[in-house]
Symmetry: C2
Subunit: 317 residues, 2 copies
């Protein structure tokens, strides 16, 4: 049958657990184990991994080994090594190390941006422009891709609902400043499928051919429903974290990113090629589990297993 | 904005935790506590509750109090009291007690039907016809609604994928036999949004004006994504269980029905009126918790709470 899902050739999933998941743990996840995780998930077919953040280690001790992790990740053939860069200085470090893709993030919510990075959004954008200019000045073979991320884009813990017009405004600003990709993030899990369609359709219409990716949290359980809604808008790039690592360790039920394993199962079942081997992917959870004892791991596929006689995309075929 | 979700006037949610959830617990959930649950969830705005099953108590001891539960539930103004009836004899008991709606279920999967009720599907359908005939012979004011449920319709733990043509065939058979409503159940959580759209669109096209409802399990995490897909097909009736009660107590991760609280939040956020007060609904979980200590309760809304400055259907408005 023909349906709105079947037009896309492929979906890119990006693992963000090593950054968005680990950042809340003060105790260092051993560097060798981070690399084991990256290696195993890459071997399972995940082609983009946000491996670290170039925030000052005194702010987030978990990323004190950023350089070593990037070095190790760059040695894995075929992997796109991504890092969060909070500012120009972080971008300079990441570029020097040869990171393939830089994720820069500002908040659409003014209050959240002020509380999170103590800057007006205009200042955040100005810093992004400096990074974009820095990249443009590099020889072509050394240029990383630059992602402009919009956090709290579908809701904010301070301001509540965020107007879609604001998301459009800052997405367009990113595009004009030289972003290679726009990312819309539902940082606190406020979105629903109707909201997702409204926001993504508006932004996609505004930024033309630039890829728009989605970063959903499963805070209120709607994460995969929101993915399905974004797919219908043509979105083909999704962040997720293995076992749903992330959220807040002080609020056990306030889970983090959508679960990579369940996301890949859904996409696979829908007939969208991700390149990921589901059984290999689920097996990588063991690396997370052994290094974070007592931390709840989320995701349903890992417990339930694949359906009997499962064939990927049986419907779409 | 106009979108495919905004056309429906209202969504009916039906609580099935007292039947589909409790059936796996041998120890009796005290009758007074069942009634407290029904009362509280009805007061929260849930207008249909499947309160019990008329299976022989020697098979499922949990439903030994079926008569008392039905009596108590019928005393609640405005509540549609639903009961599962496995056969003609169960239907006779339910009708005698004044149950408003009878849910009859057979499996689309031949193997599952044979294992579950030791009958060929044709025999199950013949029993359904006898129930429909019995109802037709009643004076109009005493006739309950009769739902024909198709379990394992989107996948079977024995047979794997179930052909959509088979779902259509048995749905049409139910319609011809006199069903007032058809229910399609993903009993073991095999469905994905593409599959849901294919199956529901096909059945809805075949059964004309008969309402088609959806009963999803969240076994592999796709429950609410499947709800969103069914909404796009025009489905406006969903089963769910408070706190996701159900599944199998021996497989902790094999969760049961979709979570009523998260379902209502999603529908509400999408601007679809359910009549349910989300905060009152979440509070009902306490009744389940105190009676099933140690049983995992699912759902994200309960832990995360409503978004800041939340207004139902802000997008759709």
């Amino acid at each position: 049958m023909t349906n709105s899902y079947s037009s896309g050739p492929e979906v890119m999933v990006c693992e963000v657990g090593l950054r968005d998941g680990l950042q809340m743990f003060n105790a260092l996840f051993p560097t060798a184990e981070k690399l084991a995780w990256i290696q195993a998930e890459s071997a399972a077919g995940v082609r983009e991994i946000e491996v670290t953040s170039f925030v000052p280690p005194k702010l987030v001790p978990q990323f004190v080994d950023a350089q070593e992790v990037v070095h190790g990740a760059l040695a894995i053939p075929g992997l796109c090594v991504v890092a969060l860069v909070p500012n120009l200085k972080g971008a300079e470090r990441a570029i020097e190390l040869g990171v393939h893709k830089l994720n820069y993030v500002m908040s659409v919510s003014r209050t959240h941006n002020l509380r999170n990075v103590r800057r007006e959004r205009e200042e955040s954008l100005a810093d992004f422009k400096r990074i974009a200019d820095l990249i443009r000045a590099l020889p072509e073979h050394r240029r990383p891709r630059l992602l402009g991320g919009l956090s709290s884009a579908l809701g904010c813990g301070y301001e509540g609902r965020v107007p879609v017009a604001d998301v459009q405004r800052w997405a367009v600003a990113y595009a004009e400043a030289g972003a290679d990709e726009i990312m819309i993030a539902d940082t606190v899990g406020y979105a629903d499928p109707v909201h997702v369609k409204e926001a993504f359709r508006a932004v996609i219409a505004d930024v033309g051919t630039l890829p728009v990716s989605a970063h959903f949290h499963d805070t209120r359980g709607l994460g995969l429903a929101n993915v399905a809604a974004a797919l219908e808008c043509g979105v083909r790039r999704f962040d997720a974290s293995l076992a749903g690592l992330g959220g807040c360790q002080f609020v056990p039920s306030a889970t983090g990113n959508i679960v990579m394993d369940d996301l890949c199962f859904m996409l696979d079942a829908m007939g969208m090629r991700t390149g990921v081997d589901l059984e290999k992917l689920v097996a990588v959870r063991e690396i997370v589990a052994r290094n974070l004892p007592g931390t709840p791991l989320y995701g349903k596929l890992a417990g339930a297993g694949l359906p009997v006689n499962y064939h990927a995309g049986a419907t779409a075929a």
